[in-house]
């Protein structure tokens, strides 16, 4: 059997001095060419799950493995050749051009004293092209629009030439067109490049339409996981998000429409 890229097995975590578990009995397995989305309200454990998956923290119970090896035991530079991450936020202390910032994605492939090689620049070109951002190469990062900036950050992660791409709420603060373009881009990478994708998102409807598999978290526990139609039901969504909704189907995928709150709901 081929090892999945990422495997969480019955993971449990509690932050030091916290009164209850941030994550309880969560399992997840992502292979090449699979798009997994993790959903849940604020404080449901999504960020903790990502931190465990990337080895930033070690689960108290259970295992988190990347490519068959405990996630927290990976040397950062080796891990960065396998996993590219687009974090929710980042700063730019110094002004940078788009090409420069994407070139930073080549760091895990460079030797200590060596210069960037032609193959590094080629990888940057490919990453920019894949994200439809080639024309942005000479722009200053701070002049980019929100959508362009997200594409550039995805390109930097792609320049790492990873097998697994992790995105933490990439659609936040994007308008309709740019959010759709971003999901199309990620879907394309899954289908054409065979990347495995783990995406944290608040957008249930887009996740249901683009992802192969969903994991719905509530209060740190897995409420449902599997194909979108199984995970996003009237009952699971209302329970987890404490809001009345109605469900419809588009392209065979469940879509959620929130209702105005009737007085008796949740009483």
């Amino acid at each position: 059997m081929i090892e999945p890229l990422l495997r969480l097995q019955d993971v449990r975590y509690r932050y030091p001095s916290a009164g209850q578990d941030a994550l309880t009995d969560v399992s997840l397995s992502i292979g090449l060419g699979e798009f997994h989305a993790v959903l849940g309200p604020n404080g449901s454990g999504k960020t903790t799950l990502v931190r465990i998956a990337l080895g930033a923290i070690t689960p108290l119970v259970g295992r988190a493995d990347i490519d068959g090896r405990s996630a927290s035991s990976w040397p950062r530079q080796d891990l960065a050749r396998l996993v590219g991450v687009v974090p929710q936020r980042e700063d730019n202390l110094f002004p940078q051009r788009v090409r420069e910032t994407v070139l930073l994605g080549r760091y895990p492939h460079l030797s200590l004293w060596g210069r960037e090689r032609p193959e590094d620049h080629a990888a940057v070109d490919r990453a920019l092209a894949a994200c439809d951002a080639r024309h942005l190469g000479d722009r200053w990062v701070w002049t980019l629009s929100g959508g362009e900036y997200q594409r550039v950050r995805v390109a930097r992660a792609l320049a790492q030439e990873p097998k697994l791409l992790v995105l933490d709420e990439p659609g936040i603060s994007l308008d309709l067109k740019h959010e759709m373009e971003l999901f199309e881009l990620v879907r394309g990478l899954v289908e054409q490049e065979g990347l495995g994708v783990l995406m944290i998102t608040h957008d249930l409807n887009l996740a249901a339409r683009f992802a192969d598999s969903l994991l719905l978290l509530g209060g740190g526990r897995p409420i449902a996981s599997g194909a979108p139609a199984e995970v996003l039901t009237h009952q699971t969504v209302e329970t987890v998000f404490s809001w009345p909704v109605t469900m419809q189907t588009i392209d065979g995928r469940p879509q959620m429409i929130p209702l105005r709150k009737p007085k008796e709901f949740g009483a």
């Binding site: 990337l54 930033a56 040397p75 891990l79 980042e90 110094f94 940078q96 930073l104 460079l110 200590l112």
Partner: protein, 313 residues
């Protein structure tokens, strides 16, 4: 082109520093003049090495504490070094190396305290606390220094005061040799951290995901930059603004990639301090200005200009 220019500037600064001085040495006798060979040449080289070290230390620390306005002496080292030196003066410790060793020990003590403070929140070094802790330790050491100086007699006071403002009059071939053997180690550590420092500009989280071993990089950069600064302060006192202004000017020309920035900051710092020292020992000859006065007089206006640029951008 810009490297050639900077290299030329370095050569000009060193030559000028050897040729110019209060004692008129005819050009023909330059090569076998005692003044040139035993006083000016080692002093020029020491100025260049110290200036370069401060430039690199400043560039590294600015990236580490994520504040482009940080100066190597902000981290409390100058206070510790000043206290060490003034203690040695007050206690009449004698010997040619008494002052440098006392200052170095004081700087190391401050470094240790600030480093410990930086780890106060746990295993991760917090650059913001490094900065605040440095200011606090520096102020504390300065208070004790002032207390000692206020109790000292007049001649001692003058010595201590001059030392605190920095000067290269103690330069000899021995000090040049010591610095030339010592400085390359922390310099190499900083240069090896050049790419991780580029990543760190995106924030610690992003830097880690891109493959940098963030905690190790922070420790290495802090220790290497501090050890460079401690050595600089030990042989030449507190010379301000080189470590602040030089990285800035280097960034304007060489950009933010540390693989180019750090060498440029070394050469730039060397050029600035060598010129400043030439000025310091000639403008009021036969007396001498502390070189820290000259770098501050040049540095503060440049700094004000840069500050304005920074807040507009």
């Amino acid at each position: 082109m810009k490297w050639t220019l900077l290299g030329l500037l370095a050569v000009v600064a060193l030559i000028a520093s050897v040729v110019i001085g209060p004692a008129a040495v005819p050009l023909a006798e330059l090569a076998h003049s005692d003044i040139v060979w035993n006083l000016r040449a080692p002093r020029a080289l020491l100025a260049f090495l110290v200036g370069g070290s401060l430039g690199v230390a400043g560039a590294g620390l600015q990236a580490l504490v994520r504040n482009p306005l940080a100066d190597p002496f902000l981290l409390g080292l100058s206070g510790g070094a000043g206290l060490g030196a003034v203690l040695a003066i007050a206690l009449h410790v004698s010997g040619p190396w008494a002052l440098p060793i006392a200052a170095f020990a004081g700087a190391l003590a401050a470094l240790g305290l600030v480093y410990r403070l930086g780890l106060i929140g746990g295993a991760a070094l917090d650059p913001r606390i490094l900065l605040l802790g440095g200011v606090a330790i520096g102020a504390f050491a300065a208070a004790i220094t002032t207390a000692i100086v206020s109790l000292a007699d007049a001649a001692e006071l003058r010595n201590a005061f001059l030392w605190l403002w920095g000067g290269l009059s103690g330069a000899s071939w021995d000090t040049v040799l010591v610095v030339a053997l010592y400085a390359p180690i922390p310099l190499a550590v900083l240069l090896a951290a050049a790419r991780p420092l580029d990543l760190l500009a995106l924030g610690e989280e992003s830097a880690g995901y891109l493959g940098a071993d963030v905690e190790a990089v922070k420790r290495r950069v802090y220790l290497a930059a501090s050890l460079l600064t401690a050595a600089a302060v030990a042989v030449s006192g507190v010379i301000g603004f080189v470590g602040l202004v030089v990285p800035h000017i280097a960034r304007l020309t060489w950009g933010h990639r540390h693989r180019a920035l750090l060498p440029a900051a070394f050469l730039g710092g060397g050029v600035l301090l060598t010129f400043a020292d030439t000025l310091a020992r000639t403008v009021v000859a036969p007396r001498e200005l502390p070189v820290g006065v000259v770098t501050a007089l040049i540095g503060v206006p440049v700094f004000a200009f840069l500050l304005r640029r920074w807040t507009i951008a």
